[in-house]
Symmetry: C2
Subunit: 141 residues, 2 copies
Amino acid sequence: MRFLRAHAALTRELSSRLEAVHELTLSDFDVLVQLYYAEGRRMRRIDLARSVLLTASGITRLLDGLESCGLVGKERCDSDARVTYAVLTKAGVRKIEEARESHLADIEELFGSRFSPDEREQLAELLGRLPLAHTAEACSE
Amino acid sequence: MRFLRAHAALTRELSSRLEAVHELTLSDFDVLVQLYYAEGRRMRRIDLARSVLLTASGITRLLDGLESCGLVGKERCDSDARVTYAVLTKAGVRKIEEARESHLADIEELFGSRFSPDEREQLAELLGRLPLAHTAEACSE
DNA sequence: CCTTTATACTTGAGAACGCAAGGATCATAG
DNA sequence: CTATGATCCTTGCGTTCTCAAGTATAAAGG
């Protein structure tokens, strides 16, 4: 119960701020961050999907949006014609670096006031046990 | 990050089980539980909306569905003609009692294996601090 | 009274997502 | 080489939800 409530309240708040300032969905942001930390700032679409817990079709449409904004591009894979890479463009890098800043500030505001560093640590650890071993490394948001 | 991932994985799992067995959305279930524990098993629609963190329009449509299944009914309010109550029907009570059981088992399966009672307590406490003081009492799911 | 403002609810339009189905490509075993 | 099966991606369709706008009622002040 608490979990569902907390999530609903939190995402609503963060999402609306992100959207107001940067015109990005939380999912958009999530994808951009994943790409930002990926090697060469590019990932196979399917891996991207799995790492942000969307379906393949979800990623297709989300990336369609980001492409038409010029934040990411496509690249073919030489060794396997089935896969397409999503690559962060220069504009995408700029965007995420801007958005990251304000987003972290938002998070700090919401979490910092309610939890001590220790508690944050604890919360992260506990939550980390939940999903069935999904990616999400190399990032501390 | 962990929070978003955990939520996505968890709700997907719980939601699909609930839907497979009882043909209920997590939101549906949530609303039914709220009503189940409410005085007289009825609530003003607006209070219901707030307690499950949906908008007014969200509740209207969700209840439309539950009404057409015969799980809840409407009742007018004598003292204020603006408000409508949502009331759990007999069928609704039966439904929620059934669903509750399997849902709790699902939760037990997902949480029980990963957390000790102490840790569960802790997690609940930490999460409880997040939303801006929203209802959700009288229930331990 | 009558106006203003706030509240409860509904409705239309649209965004975000999942699922299922289809097309293309790869890989493997006859 | 071909058949079978798996993987990656896209597309059509439906669901859930939000936001904005509209209706109806209430409450409070001139």
